[in-house]
Amino acid sequence: MEGEFHADMGPQYEGEVIRKEDLYIEFGGPKVAHKFELATVKSPDEIENEKVEIIGPDLDDLQPYDEEKGGGSYPIAVLVDVAGGELDKDAEAIIERRIHMFTNMIEGWYHMNQRQDVWMRINKDCYKKGFTSLRELGEIYILLYTSEMSIIESIQVTIITDEKKIEELLPHALEVYAARDERARTLNDEDVDTFYGCVLCQSFAPTHISIITPNRIANCGAINWFDGRAAAKIDPDGPIFAIPKGELIDAIKGEYSGANAIEAEKSLGTYDRVYLYSAFEHPHTSCGCFEAIVYYIPEADAFGVVNRDFKGETVVGETFSHMAGETSGGKQIEGRLGTGLEQLRSPKFIQADGGLARIVWMPKDIKERVKDALEAKGLYDKIATEEDVKNVDELLEFLEKVGHPWIKGEVELPT
């Protein structure tokens, strides 16, 4: 590899940081509004193999960073177009993420973040050694992609520094990212063989294990299935680990043999069954870290939700902290579920019990946060908040008045 380029390459440079004092020029980053990187799988005839195109000023056209005057931060877009018989849309995110690693492998280059947040730096030394064109960066990408990913049959790289052009293309990139996220959100428990477990909270909730699945974010809201997968890959024996899903026992309540087995092991035999999609019978354990509590309201035969930041009394007259005291400690408590807030968006959220349509009360703040999800189900106006009702009697009246689907008997439980 050496000789051909004006910079050395290799994994030894991956941890290299470029501080402002060594900075020649930076692209993207917090000071720059328009920036992104995007990999696209195309058909072979749309690609001119190994072509590198630079649109806009090149490295040696740009004013470098100056200690006195500042500056030196410029917009950038990196487009990697690839083709290959085995490549599909799902590969795009993986290919795109490699830009991070490949850039960091170049001596004197630094890359942070991804998508519309990208941030690249080149240091003074590297420029001085002759790395004066972005074309070289493109050529290095092509070399690394083709040598490390044999699945790629043809590739072209476009690096844009022309701000107008980047601004013009950015909305398309954002659409692509949103579509990818949408695909990730529609990933279901049925689609994977592996769940993840987390026992970080066992220090104070010794029988607690969070089971993290595509349809179930952790109680604390901080670890979803993708986070679990990343953590388990880095440190498989750590507190976040893979769980083989096992056999599906009950598709509605969300019972899996693999989840049952790990529940038994990690709760030291206290529990041997867990329902992932119900608040009754064998609900998920609650540690103490949960962002919110889903609680049963007997008078309405429905549920309320209260989050940690809500300081007032809930509709049943209890505060979050009072309820949290009863709900925490790693127990399975029927009718009580510690949960991550994002879980309200999951299609399997207490699906066995009627799902979101069984929720009758939540704090206004939360209702606003999940507004889109509630509106999609026609529930936004049906759920009471602290501004609508003060107690259970008022709640029942409210539900009657707005015609809450659960109270009206319109919600059918899945069978």
């Binding site: 004092e21 996220d181 962002e291």
Partner: protein
């Protein structure tokens, strides 16, 4: 090996002032990470750096949590990596040192996972940047010392004014920190804003506290003028009493 120096002491005794001067001095010997672990974030001012309030670690964490529940953070972006990226973006870079502001610590409740992400991020930050020194300016309440960093402290500088109350508070902090952290290298007392001699009562209180006196810093006459002009303390001339005393302290610690 990175050396960590932490400042402690009751409110208003000069922790931030001395921390800033130490950062400046050490930055001539190696690369420094200045950690503002006080939620009221004023180490940046003492160092003459601008700071955007949305750029504290606490704020970054809060925003991430909120974005997750709003469904606006991409589910596929690994939160550990995301947090690390935002923390690196939040660094204020200067000659020989970077500044990170911790901001408000988390509210009530438990944050096992996000605290773990934070700790991992901070460890990675120190490792990648190969800082030679970390200087932590702590708040009087010691919130961050107890929770947000797992780093060993090589030198704990407890500050006090020349009052019995200050010395008593310093003694209490020494005990508390030693209970929280088994790994504290050297602990020493700095008495700041000393005018003339220490009174016999204070000398006795120091003796009883078991704290080793590292230095007495005199009242700095130019300080109020500097503050009136809104200038950072690091603008004090090298030979000013405060600067030269801090220089002595750093030299005596052979950092």
């Amino acid at each position: 090996m990175t050396k960590t120096i932490a400042m402690a002491g009751k409110g208003g005794v000069g922790k931030t002032t001395v921390a800033a001067l130490i950062v400046k001095l050490l930055s001539q010997k190696g690369l420094v990470l200045a950690v503002d672990a006080d939620p009221s974030t004023n180490l940046n001012q003492a160092l003459g750096l601008p700071l955007d309030d949305s750029q504290t670690v606490g704020r970054i964490r809060e925003k991430m949590t909120e974005d997750v529940s709003r469904g606006t953070l991409s589910p596929t972006i690994v939160k550990q990596e995301y947090l690390f990226g935002k923390i690196v973006e939040s660094l204020a870079e200067s000659k020989g040192f970077d500044l990170i502001a911790m901001g408000r610590p988390e509210g009530p409740g438990c944050y096992c996972a996000s605290n773990r992400f934070l700790r991992t991020s901070l460890d990675k930050l120190v490792q990648d940047h190969e800082y030679d020194y970390i200087v932590m300016d702590c708040e009087a309440g010691l919130e961050h010392i107890s929770r947000q960093t797992t780093r060993d402290i090589d030198v704990l500088l407890i500050m006090s004014d020349p009052t019995i109350r200050g010395i008593t508070a310093a003694a209490r902090m020494k005990k508390l920190i030693e209970e929280l952290r088994s790994n504290v290298g050297k602990t020493g007392l700095i008495v700041n804003r000393v005018k003339g001699e220490l009174s016999p009562e204070i000398k006795r209180a120091i003796e009883e506290s078991g704290l080793e006196v590292l230095a007495l810093i005199p009242e700095e006459p130019d300080m109020s003028d500097l503050e009136m002009k809104g200038k950072p303390v690091t603008d004090l001339p090298q030979e000013s009493p405060l600067q030269s005393k801090v220089k002595e302290i750093v030299e005596s610690l052979s950092l």
